[in-house]
Symmetry: C2
């Protein structure tokens, strides 16, 4: 396991006090501090993939709340750990949002360090997708130090368990990427619980845990007399 | 099987020439002509259910195309059988819509008589839902004449095959009813192919035929070593 530098970094977010970004280079590293040192190669070669990893790991999702009274579309997940009163101090009035929206946002709450581990996990999985670029040695060593050895081409859709190709990232249409970040338990945001899924697989899983989804479809197949 | 009156009815739609509404009372009936005589009781007691049956049977759906350049949200399904040129005559310029929208609309095309049969099938299924109101004898006889004898409480979700309660119609929230009209084959709109499904079941089925959905989840369960 890697020890991180964890030196505080500057932030330009309006939640800068909440944000509390920290360096995740290895402790005692050379050169500049960086929050996502393992994304430096993807940022150059596949910038959108790097951005997706950062966004999905740190922000709440926003698709369903694009209406006027739904509040900001995406919020830092660890901001959702603060009280309504603390959030008012940052200019976000949760009482102005519909109760259903508040519940959805609060459900996405996760500590900063969990989000950082999620980003590392997603990067580790991306580099093991079929057709993925080969990571620079330093990044491979870093990610293997955090998790386990990488097996090229081994990343599968968490739902349907078929290989999920890196090339699918580049076929996004109107904000609908055919690859989505998914959660084995939709209410838990940490490295163990996240992975990638085909969009249609993630949609089919819905709000269920993966175990509940499998049990649900098993029941369906029994009733359809296919089992 | 019932013979219908089929006398043309007036229409106030801007597609009135296309609409070509016809009486679906039994041939030789007493009293006024009516396009949906079997909905007259639901129209009084559960107006929204009657409206949903009419809307889902005759109109294309609109959810995904609520944007400015997506054109009218709902269109008569049989209008989608007309050529682009004919539609221009009715003030609808298909060439102004994005190709993806046009494809989705065209895919929903169905002849008027098929839509009428779909409405009858949905009414027949509604009256057989657990907790459904009892139909007046005249309506029961009409619908049983078109299809088969009704078995109270026998209507099931077409996807998960569990009973689907009439009471779910009244728990719609923000346009998201927990019951949806579904298609065993999403590209075929006729009485044989339609039914009701729980919203989450319909979403899980997605664009697949029901057979393909079952085969798909079966493959998943095999890979998950649950079969």
């Amino acid at each position: 396991m890697i020890d991180f530098c964890l030196k505080p970094l500057d932030s330009r977010s309006r939640f800068s006090l909440i944000a509390n970004h920290r360096c995740h280079c290895e402790k005692g590293h050379d050169g500049k501090c960086s929050e996502y040192p393992y994304l430096q190669d993807l940022e150059k070669t596949y910038e959108k993939v790097a951005q997706k990893i950062k966004r999905d790991s740190t922000n709440t999702t926003g698709a369903a709340w694009a209406s006027k009274d739904a509040g900001p579309n995406r919020i830092l997940r660890w901001a959702m750990l603060l009280s309504d009163e603390e959030l008012r101090g940052y200019g976000l009035d949760m009482s102005q949002l519909r109760p259903g929206i508040v519940a959805k946002l609060r459900e996405k709450a996760a500590p900063y360090e969990d989000c950082m581990q999620v980003a590392m996990k997603l990067a580790w999985l991306v580099y093991q997708m079929p057709d993925a670029p080969t990571p620079p040695d330093s990044i491979r060593r870093y990610l293997e130090g955090v998790f386990r050895g990488m097996i090229p081409g081994s990343t599968k859709c968490e739902v349907c368990l078929l290989p999920i190709s890196f090339n699918l990232f580049s076929t996004a249409q109107r904000g609908k990427a055919p690859i989505e970040t998914c959660h084995k338990n939709p209410r838990v945001h940490n490295a163990d619980n996240v992975g990638f899924a085909h969009r249609e697989c993630n949609i089919a899983q819905g709000a269920k845990t993966l175990d509940d989804f499998y049990a649900w479809v098993e029941g369906i197949l029994v009733r359809a007399r296919r089992l």
